[in-house]
Subunit: 343 residues, 2 copies
């Protein structure tokens, strides 16, 4: 399996995040991707290629164009306002506040386009986001051109980013852009199977009223876990999208025995939908020693996930999402991929 | 003029807040109230009395009872979850996230009931919030019983707190509870004139669909200033409340010449409404040296505000809101009150 990976991800580094009542170095850091890259080389998964540059025309079909412009301009505006260091919001447009007027000051804008203080900006963020987006599209091209599978080693990740908001370390929703791109190439139906520990609230929001992209999420119950305000089992889609969104929330402490049952349910949903392409939002923060998560998968479980996915016999694009146990992220993410190749 | 003030405000101390990309000691700190109290004594404004204890039955008419229960339980739950220090949220239910399911974990709950990371909790917060609420109601009783005016030296402040959310250093909306209480005593119409630098988004939200409380806000334009997502001139109330909400946003750098014109417009609106009682949400963060604000009022302007308010010849309850230039907050807030008494 080929991997598409850009060294430009490393520009998104040195940023901080709000963790409870402290400002800490972001958990979503460059070494995550580098450990995965190193593991790919160590096990000989296949070639690692750099992405080709892509325009934002596909991204503009799943994200508000004004939001994409914001992502590009936020850090220069932050500096122009006399601020320095990590750009992050401090107030958010929750219920009873307006969602229809974008503030003019950068302090207002950055909150307007966010739902937490976790997708933070430094000078190199936009270039890294663009390169991550390019990796997803370049890997999608490999699948479109006949490869049975490809791996987009995306960083930053994407599944928390919605049509017009960042959050949870995510800016552009790489999997959503790839799904749109497959449709634009002629696919009739695309399934996104999100196996990250956290609910992919951005992916759900983007496709919630559409029937051409099925979204299946396996994740920690939002009653106890981030993102807390989406991901319940009763969210089934709306309008034309009704019946095409599926949430499988699980309890704190879920291990392979429980998680694999949800995976089987997810496979059934995907099979019944008969998609032309499968996109796997691949997070490995389900790992027992992940620093910010509370599931109990062990490293030996990840190849099993890959083997099971392969049994769907679908053209498959793996898109990297979360996973924060830095050394093990390589073993676990690449474990899924080698499992898929049944070796 | 009598002042109602509780020393129990001091229990809300030692908390931190998110200021841009740093965690800093909260700007809303105990010395704010103590400087005002000292100034009241220095100028001999009148007696300072402690509030009487009040139940929450009036508060439950303007706040969701579940929200009030949350305010009481949040810090014990925070400790029970194994956390320590300041309790504050890290993810918020913005657009595309659900407002109808309250998470069970304290991390989820605290974000559910907030719109920023500025209303933070320590062990003494709830007791201070209760005492601040009691001060507002006890001062309202003084006005109800015939005093021409009274000053509720409330801390924490209240005008950013809405029916079911905290933010901007505010938890219970003291002015809103007092307005409801006046109505419950037989008043037909109550005006709230909010002269704080920031838009009183909570007060607006609470009364937005009601005609029995007029809300007039003078504040920094939300396009550039906190709370950023409410306070525009086109927000006039809804349903039965249509025509009873008035926003007078002003530009960065506004000084007395501009600010006093907005005040005159506010007075006209209040006069035309012919309220039985006037509540002044008294913030003095319009001051030129306020550390978090950008208006240019000087200390000599504050007695003029009080003198102008007195010309409305209405029973008047002053409720303390913001103001962060710690030493001058006493001079400026008490300046309004002595100006009202025309001395
Ligand atoms: Zn995750
Ligand atoms: Zn203020």
């Amino acid at each position: 399996m080929k991997t598409v990976f850009s060294p430009r991800h490393a520009g998104h580094s040195g940023n901080v995040e709000l963790d409870t009542n402290e400002i800490v170095p972001a958990y979503e850091k460059p070494s995550r991707a580098e450990f995965i890259r190193a593991r790919i080389e160590a096990v000989g998964l296949g070639p690692i290629v750099e992405p080709q540059a892509h325009g934002l025309e596909t991204a503009r079909k799943v994200h508000d164009p004004a939001y994409l412009e914001f992502l590009e301009s936020v850090y220069p505006e932050w500096l122009a306002a006399g601020r320095s260091g990590t750009a992050m919001p401090y107030v958010w447009p929750t219920r009873a506040l307006r969602a229809d007027v974008v503030p003019t000051s950068i302090e207002g804008k950055i909150g307007f386009y966010a739902f937490d203080a976790g997708a933070t900006f430094v000078a190199g963020t936009w270039d890294a986001v663009r390169s991550s987006h390019d990796s997803a599209l370049s890997a999608a091209s490999l699948v479109e051109s006949g490869e049975p599978a490809a791996f987009a080693l995306c960083r930053p990740p994407g599944h928390h980013a919605g049509s017009n908001f960042a959050g949870g370390y995510c800016f552009i929703n790489n999997a959503a852009v790839a799904a749109q791109w497959f449709l634009d190439q002629g696919a009739k139906r695309v399934s996104i199977l999100d196996v990250d520990y956290h609910h992919g609230n951005g992916t759900q929001e983007i496709f919630y009223r559409r029937s051409d992209v099925q979204v299946v999420n396996l994740h920690a119950d939002p009653l106890f876990e981030y993102p807390h305000f989406l991901g319940h089992a009763d969210e089934g889609g709306e309008g034309a999208g009704e019946g095409f969104n599926h949430n499988l929330p699980m309890a704190r402490g879920t291990d392979w025995s429980g998680w694999s049952k949800a995976l089987e349910r997810g496979f059934k949903l995907v099979s019944d939908y008969t998609p032309d392409v499968l996109i796997v939002s691949l997070g490995v923060d389900t790992f027992e020693r992940d620093p910010i998560s509370q599931f109990k998968l062990v490293s030996d479980d990840y190849p099993k996930i890959g083997r099971e996915i392969a049994r769907l016999r679908l053209p498959t694009l793996f898109v990297m999402e979360g996973g924060y146990a830095v050394e093990e992220i390589g073993i676990n993410a690449v474990g899924v991929l080698t499992g898929f190749e049944d070796r």
